[in-house]
């Protein structure tokens, strides 16, 4: 490892759950992970990950208490590299069956629902994802899931309108392109999403756990960081 100071990667703290796997992942990617619930970190962090622990309701409550819901929306609007993992992906939508009445970040339309199809929940283990042909970042392959809820579809047109969690749209014409990878567990669902601004995939959402998906996850995030043109020590 070089003597140069490693660049920081902010992992948003949404609850008490442990983040050891995501922190170790950040280090393997060449960053110094910082777990934070400070607005300044979320606004200014070069890379921010919203991790996947806990439940929809309490996580949104904690984000809103700390003003981080607005901070995340602002990052996305400004095209700063932001990723959501598992629950962290679901929070980018409007609501979830897991927490009726609780409002999500509303960056994408749609309600997160419980996986239907009668298979045992949570979905736990390695499932195959298939990326759309229009995806430039996401690849097809085996990834590790641990989830009971899922995004069923992403209703988007290019130049998606960002509404922001407090209601009125505050950013328009944000994404040039959105592409997904899908998987099937009893029913089809959205396994991941890449959203592009100014020729960079600034937003990456994964329903699976890239930090536990072996070389596939590491390769995906390395590629994502490189396409966002962030220098790092590896």
């Amino acid at each position: 490892m070089s003597m140069k100071e490693r660049k920081k990667l902010i992992i948003i703290k949404t609850g008490a759950a442990n983040l050891a796997s995501v922190e170790a992942f950040a280090k393997r990617l060449g960053f110094e992970p910082v777990v934070s619930d400070m607005m300044i970190d979320v606004l200014e962090g070069q890379v921010v990950i919203l991790p996947g622990v806990g439940a929809f309701g309490p996580a949104m409550e904690k984000l809103s208490q700390d003003g981080l819901d607005e901070a995340i929306c602002r990052r996305v609007e400004q095209g700063l590299p932001t990723a959501g993992i598992c629950l962290g992906m679901q929070l980018f939508f409007e609501a979830s069956e897991e927490a009726p009445g609780s409002k999500g970040l509303c960056i994408f339309n749609g309600t997160v629902k419980r996986l239907a199809g009668g298979l045992p929940l949570p979905q736990l283990g390695w499932n195959k994802i298939e990326s759309e042909s229009s995806a430039h970042l996401l690849e097809s392959g085996w990834v590790y899931f641990a989830n009971s809820y899922r995004v069923g579809e992403v209703a988007y047109t290019y130049k998606t309108t960002i509404k922001g969690s407090k209601g009125a749209p505050f950013a328009q014409n944000v994404f040039d392109q959105v592409a997904i990878a899908s998987a099937r567990y009893g029913e089809p669902f959205v396994a991941a999403l890449e959203a592009w601004q100014d020729a960079k995939p600034t937003l990456l959402l994964c329903q699976f756990h890239p930090e536990l998906s072996g070389s596939f996850g590491t390769r995906l995030f390395s590629h994502w960081i490189d396409l966002n043109r962030i220098g790092r020590n590896v």
């Binding site: 759950a17 442990n18 050891a20 796997s21 170790a24 992942f25 280090k27 393997r28 298979l119 045992p120 949570p122 979905q123 736990l124 283990g125 390695w126 499932n127 195959k128 085996w142 590790y144 641990a146 099937r184 567990y185 009893g186 930090e211 536990l212 998906s213 072996g214 070389s215 996850g217 590491t218």
Partner: protein, 255 residues
């Protein structure tokens, strides 16, 4: 099946900082440094790593959390940790060190409420109930649960206990046949079938696998994941070879 790949899980039995392996839970033999083993298995295609602490002392237990933390830094597949977890605090310590899933065994038999509590604190995906089983014809299923590393009978029927454990919030059952452990005779398939049919959660088969055919038998009996230790430690066969064998028999694996 549900579309998920059947998981191959190498298990590192861990005693005071070293990987060991015994026969029928006894006669332990040293098999090397856990970190090197873990990395080797990930490269071979392991889908998850099981880490079982069989240290007898408190000192050994502390070493375990340090080892988990050390391995977490380099390993990018899920880590399941078990052995001697007697309290929520024990579970917390190991999760903070970097375990993704916790398996409880004797403590759950002594106090089943620990399963409920772990599930509500950390989610069912985090909770594995490990059941060590020996044949006993006086039990309804023909199998009895044993605890304390197989040294103590419980009078519990294996199938009934698996049902109770999953009802309380076990996200998975890790089912070990003491009779087969380290014997190379293959999984106790009748037992796997009985338990897999009785619970909705995935069952991990453990104890006795020594050939690719054994892994296929375990899968066909209803196991969602197949655990083994000695066969991998001794380098007799690689995880990749087992997966290729399974794939050749139309079993979905991650290759």
């Amino acid at each position: 099946m549900n579309g998920l790949a059947v998981r191959i899980i190498p298990c590192l039995d861990f005693k005071d900082g070293r990987v060991v392996k015994g026969t029928r839970f006894l006669n332990l033999v040293d098999s090397g440094d856990p970190l090197e083993r873990a990395l080797l298995y990930e490269r071979q295609g392991a889908d998850e790593l099981a880490f079982l602490d069989i240290s007898a002392t408190l000192e050994g237990r502390k070493t375990m959390a340090q080892e988990v933390a050390r391995i977490r830094q380099v390993l990018s597949i899920p880590i399941m940790v078990g052995g001697g977890i007697g309290s929520i605090e024990d579970a917390c310590r190991l999760l903070e060190a970097g375990a993704d899933r916790i398996s409880v065994n004797s403590a759950a038999v002594r106090n089943p409420l620990i399963i409920d509590e772990l599930a509500s604190r950390f989610g069912v995906q985090c909770v594995v109930v490990a059941i060590d089983v020996a044949e006993n014809s006086t039990m309804p299923s023909g199998y009895e649960v044993k605890i304390d590393a197989g040294s103590r009978k419980t009078g519990f029927d294996a199938v009934a206990w698996a049902q109770e454990a999953s009802g309380r919030g076990a996200g998975e059952i890790l089912l070990t046949s003491i009779d087969r452990d380290g014997t190379s005779l293959g999984y106790e398939c009748r037992l796997i079938g009985l338990v897999a049919r009785a619970v909705l959660v995935p069952v991990v088969a453990s104890g006795g696998a020594s050939k690719p055919e054994h892994f296929l038998e375990g899968y066909l009996s209803g196991a969602s994941a197949l655990l083994a230790a000695g066969i991998f430690h001794r380098g007799e066969i690689s995880i990749r070879e087992i997966k290729e064998f399974l794939k050749a028999h139309d079993v979905e694996v991650r290759l």
